[in-house]
């Protein structure tokens, strides 16, 4: 049996960032993934990194500008965002959020139509206005995921791909080993960061983690001329211009799914690409002639209140569970730090993350998914 101080189940951004933070503290870590790192949501998302609602926000904002240097690999992180309103209702909503940012001392600036057109050359004269966030940003999810993995290896950590975790060994109220079909990994601590498969894995430890999986989609165009600020979205889309120039956008209705222990069997995209294309062409009409060259989908999980669960359990007491509830890419530099703290110190050192505890769902109704209408289409 090979061993590690910490075994992490799941090589998405959450598990990898946690592993990287632990390795930076000199801890010997092993990350196990069922396939290749970042193959699920972590490599299929919008790359947004502006999660002001989260208690991890300040740390997210502090870390991102340093990530390329700390990791030693490019993440394509770009600063700031402009959110464009294309309807009166959106303008009202975006201004409401901007007001809130002002009260929280997050730097924002309201842009009128002309200012939007100056700042976003591809934008529409029909824009009602925009909000310039002087914070937040975005990065390349695929490059970032691999950067965490490589940086972790550079610090002596181990990545084991193509190795689905099948179960755990426990003794004395602790997990003592993590099992795959071919190997057993002894451990002092376990981090379960397996995205939509967290409930199945945790059930094996007798722990109920209420999460519902869903599919979401994105499209990408051929490169457009580089805009002065690449973090442009709005019109109820999220997305970004890549450093190559491509426009990558998502948004709109999700599809709830069942999930079994093997994880997603497929991640199909659908004709929703047409509805994304419509909104993108409305918001950036000067790009409407550009070719869409791909669409894709990813599977993410949500907790009943849509907020992450980051918690160190009491029983077994050497397990940290981390579901990012569909907002985990941007927060990853901070979620990894929080997980590191929980593993080593039992407590997050830089933020109060009690609202992310699993125990908030202790009294959850058994039919919480049905109540919310979060059931798969039968």
């Amino acid at each position: 049996m090979s061993g590690s101080e910490v075994v992490i189940v799941g090589g998405g951004v959450t598990g990898l960032s946690a592993g990287w933070w632990l390795a930076r503290s000199g801890v010997k870590v092993t990350v196990l993934d069922k396939f290749i790192v970042g193959w699920e949501a972590s490599g299929r998302n919008g790359g947004g990194a502006s999660h002001y609602a989260s208690p991890l926000f300040d740390e997210e904002q502090r870390m991102w500008p340093q990530m390329d240097e700390l990791l030693g690999y490019p993440t394509e992180h770009q600063k700031e965002r402009i959110i464009i309103a294309m309807t009166e209702r959106q303008w009202e909503q975006y201004r409401f959020v901007a007001e809130r940012h002002k009260r929280l001392n997050h730097a924002v600036e309201l842009l009128d139509t002309k200012q939007v057109l100056d700042a976003v050359p591809l934008a529409s004269e029909k824009a009602f206005g925009g909000v310039h966030y002087k914070f937040g940003g975005h990065a390349n999810p695929q490059r970032t995921t691999q950067a965490y993995a490589w940086a972790l290896q550079d610090l002596g950590g181990t990545i084991v791909q193509h190795s689905p975790v099948t179960g755990f060994e426990t003794a004395g109220g602790k997990v003592t080993a993590v099992k795959t079909a071919t190997a057993t990994y002894g451990c002092d601590n376990v981090v379960v960061a397996a995205g939509p498969q967290i409930p199945q894995l945790m059930a094996q430890l007798g722990v109920n983690v209420p999460l519902a999986a869903a599919r979401a989609e994105m499209i990408i165009t051929e490169p457009a001329p580089m805009m002065p600020l690449t973090g442009v979205d709005g019109h109820k889309l999220y997305g970004r211009q890549t450093m190559r120039g491509n426009l990558a956008y998502g948004g709109g209705p999700h599809e709830w799914l069942d999930m079994d222990a093997d994880g997603p069997a497929a991640r199909p995209s659908t004709p929703l690409a047409r509805n994304l294309a419509k909104r993108l062409a409305e918001m950036l009409p000067k790009a409407a002639h550009l070719n869409v060259i791909r669409s894709w989908a990813g599977i993410i999980e949500n907790s009943p209140d849509g907020r992450p669960i980051i918690d160190r359990l009491t029983s077994p007491d050497n397990v940290v569970v981390a579901s990012m509830s569909s907002v985990g890419f941007g927060l990853s530099p901070a979620s990894g730090h929080a997980i590191r703290d929980l593993v080593i110190d039992g407590k997050c050192s830089f933020a109060d993350i009690d609202i992310l505890k699993l125990s908030r769902f202790d009294n959850l109704e058994a039919d919480w998914r049905e109540k919310r209408g979060w059931m798969p289409i039968s």
Partner: protein, 487 residues
Amino acid sequence: MELNFTGTDLCAINGTRSAPETHYDTVVIGAGPSGVAAAIDAATAGAKVLLVDENPVSGAVMGNDVPLYFGGRMTSATQNAERMLEAIFMSMPALETAMDAGVELLLGTTAWGVYRNGPGVASLPQQVVGLADSERSWLVGFDKIILATGARDLAMAFPGWNQPGVMGAAALQMLLTRYEAFAGRRMLVLGSHDLALETALLAKDRGVDVLGLIEVRDAPQGHSDLVAKVAAAGIIIHCGQTITAAKGGINGVESATLKTGEEIACDTICVAIGLIPSIELVDAMHGPRALSAMRGGYIPAGEPTVSAVGDCAGLADSGFDHIAYRMDWMRALSSVSADDTIICQCEEVTRADLIGVQPPNYLSRPAPMCARSLDTLLEDGPANPDQIKRLTRAGMGVCQGRRCRDQVAMLLAIEADKPFGSIPLASHRAPVRPLPLKILAEWDEPAEMDAAWDVWFGIPTAWVPHEDIGTPYQDEHREMLYTGMYK
């Protein structure tokens, strides 16, 4: 905040999609000989049949080497859509027969995606194929779909291949026959299997000066009858030979240099080393497919509602191992070309950067990045072209990997010292043709779609700033941003 759940998530996809505009018993994609025959058969058997073909494709699309590897060698006549429509129709008398049999025919119409319920999706009202012409896109329902999408060109990199005048055999045949719009005059052909021999004979027949065939192996590879015909036509096959560079000027290729140093003046280099069955639609819909070296690559493995006919079902099996042949070419071309030879034209990825798994030039390469390579990646698991694509961008461009995906797979096999079949097929994604945003857009989407549209899930508690949880502000937030979603 008390949330009274209603049992319905108004931001879920359920019931928001539009129904297809029309429905056919059978839709046939591709109006080559086998597609037309299949359409006639189905119509004769009483089915309501739609036959679509993307030709004539616009000059702009051809310019991206889509769907075939045109290499910029189409005449300006291809800019004239009406004239091309007429040329295509006239070149295929069988189309008239099909229409007489009751087949509905749409030319200049691309099938860019096939969608159906299955693992990971249950929200489609029915199985549909996405179509698009130069004006708009739309969805068509079907009971049965017959793919007759043919085969596309295998491109091969050598110094100077990334300029006008280097093109594929399927594109050349298309321009010579259906479009009558080939702009070259003096042509060298790479390869000597049936494809190359037939292409050389056709070109010669259409008045192109065919300067010779280049063959890496020691003897001509094709059927002896064809070899004899080529010899009789006075065309030389240079065996045990390879091309080391194409030189050119503003209008593209002007000459080809061979391994021997011999330089042959030409304006076109036709890569006729192989064809790849066009299975983009099958793969993008997660249809089953299998690798067949004798039939040119991955071919559909067959299922009840989706069938394939003609070259997209696999090239005719003549006992020739196409994969081994391509690999010989790939090894030969790699050995005579420098590491900085471009492999992915769209993203300008060199062979060195591909094998080094290095990021594009606009990103910095700190020491740890430079220390990474395919070798270090292979320590973590077998080579996967989609992973290489994420890291290097090879295959991420506007030609949708048509020119480089096969080469990337071959190079990975060679570098990893593994059989070609061990390298997974890089995924195809809809739209399987590049489609402008304004064409792909569903401009007349149903109101249900807009009503359900939220930027991200629409969960009322998810985006309340954590400082505001439990304060009156959280209700204000919910009212402003999520009205109507939950009671």
